[in-house]
Amino acid sequence: MSSAKRIGLVVAIIVLAGAFVVYRNYARVQTPATEEPGSNGTVEVLPDGSRRVSATVSFDAPGVVEVYTFSLTLDTNGVIADAKTEDAKTGEVSSHNEAFTKELLKVIKGKKLSELKNVDKIGTSSLTTSAFNSAIPTLQSF
């Protein structure tokens, strides 16, 4: 092979190799990321700083494809403040936030029952009648 042809061949190989590399990279950038079948997740930051994490899931149920969006809202301390499930087809939303509501801690001093006005009833652990006492005859001697 003459040197001119040799050089031409090498150049052609380099160009082809280069084109191949560019093609591979270009293709990687351009091909959309393959979606996981049936789900995706998002995080949005709300104006008060809390974050809402949502995921939409679809799955096959007999005869139908169910699609739900689940979302949890976390306050700035990372504590769950709200939880919702939305049926994407009907738009029906069920809120579970009551399950995450913050309790209140109290110290109760109480008031004398005799001081209270307008009491209709007293809610109490059931007063025992003779029935309880007769149910534990053998213990009275212990």
Binding site: L104, I108, K109
Partner: protein, 290 residues
């Protein structure tokens, strides 16, 4: 306002009717239902369905419609507590001295005792050994609701059915709620707070009233020991049964799950802890005396 008082299920009941007097027929219906409920479902009465399997070998048996309904509720509570609540606890109660026909002395050591396993399908129960059932954790709430129902069916609108401190109330004749003081656990003359009951059920339970030796009547069936960290609980829900279920669960649940557990029965709660503090769900329909 008229009041019918009677004893049933080991405690004192009171039915209040505002705006209309209880007819003789209504009174009798109330007494018949309560008496029937006791006879059929009390662990302490020998011919009850609760006692029907005390000597039965492993197998499948048919129960009444109403007992099946009660056992369905019990099974739900058993699942929700991973077995810490179990209606088959009757035998354990008897072993440690609380009631029933026994020839042996009560024992404190229950390590060798195994809780029976039971399952329910429709009206068929399957047991793996003799069982004594106890529907105490929710049965009274259920009976209170049925009593209120039979009054509503007879046209009584303004009522309060009090089954020894657990209750269901509609409203007073002027439309106002019933005012109910919540007794502080362990302090008979003290109210922890006041609430307004309107078309709602209330259940109140504490560990002081039914005590013997080292035990009281709210027990962890799986751990085979009385609950220690919670000493009292009150819950409000749309029915007395839901409120009763909520209190039973709240005694057994771990504290971080209280809101979720209460939510399951649509209830608001007040929990008295053994360290003297109390936890209250927001939206508790009343005031606390802090």
């Amino acid at each position: 306002m008229q009041e019918l008082k009677f004893e049933s299920m080991g405690t004192a009941w009171s039915v209040l009717a505002d705006s209309a007097d209880l007819t003789e027929e209504a009174r009798q219906a109330i007494l018949d239902y309560a008496g029937g409920f006791d006879r059929r479902f009390s662990r302490f009465l020998p011919d009850s369905e609760a006692n029907a399997f005390r000597n039965s070998p492993a197998g499948t048996y048919t129960v009444s419609e109403e007992f099946a309904a009660l056992l369905r509720i019990a099974k739900k509570l058993e699942h929700m507590t991973a077995g810490r609540f179990n209606a088959a606890v009757g035998g354990l109660f008897e072993r440690v001295g609380y009631g029933g026909a026994r020839d042996t002395l009560p024992e404190d050591d229950v390590s060798s005792y195994s809780l029976p396993v039971w399952s329910l399908e429709g009206r068929e129960i399957t047991i793996d050994c003799p069982v004594v059932f106890d529907v105490g954790g929710f049965g009274k709430g259920y009976a209170i609701d049925r009593t209120a129902e039979l009054l509503k069916n007879r046209g009584f609108e303004h009522l309060l059915v009090d089954g020894g401190g657990d209750m269901y109330g509609t409203r007073k004749r002027g439309g106002e709620p019933w005012r109910v003081a919540i007794q502080h656990p362990g302090k008979e003359d003290t109210a922890a707070g006041m609430l307004e009951l309107i078309d709602a059920g209330l259940a109140v339970s504490d560990t002081f009233r039914r005590r013997w030796g080292a035990w009281h009547h709210i027990i962890d069936a799986k751990g085979k020991k009385p609950v220690r960290n919670v000493i009292g609980c009150a819950a409000v829900a749309s029915s007395a049964c839901d409120a009763d279920c909520a209190t039973s669960l709240l005694f057994l649940a771990s504290s971080e799950t209280y809101p979720a557990v209460a939510c399951e029965f649509g209830s608001k709660y007040l929990i008295f802890q053994s360290d003297g503090s109390a936890r209250m769900s927001p939206g508790w329909p009343g005031e606390l005396y802090e």
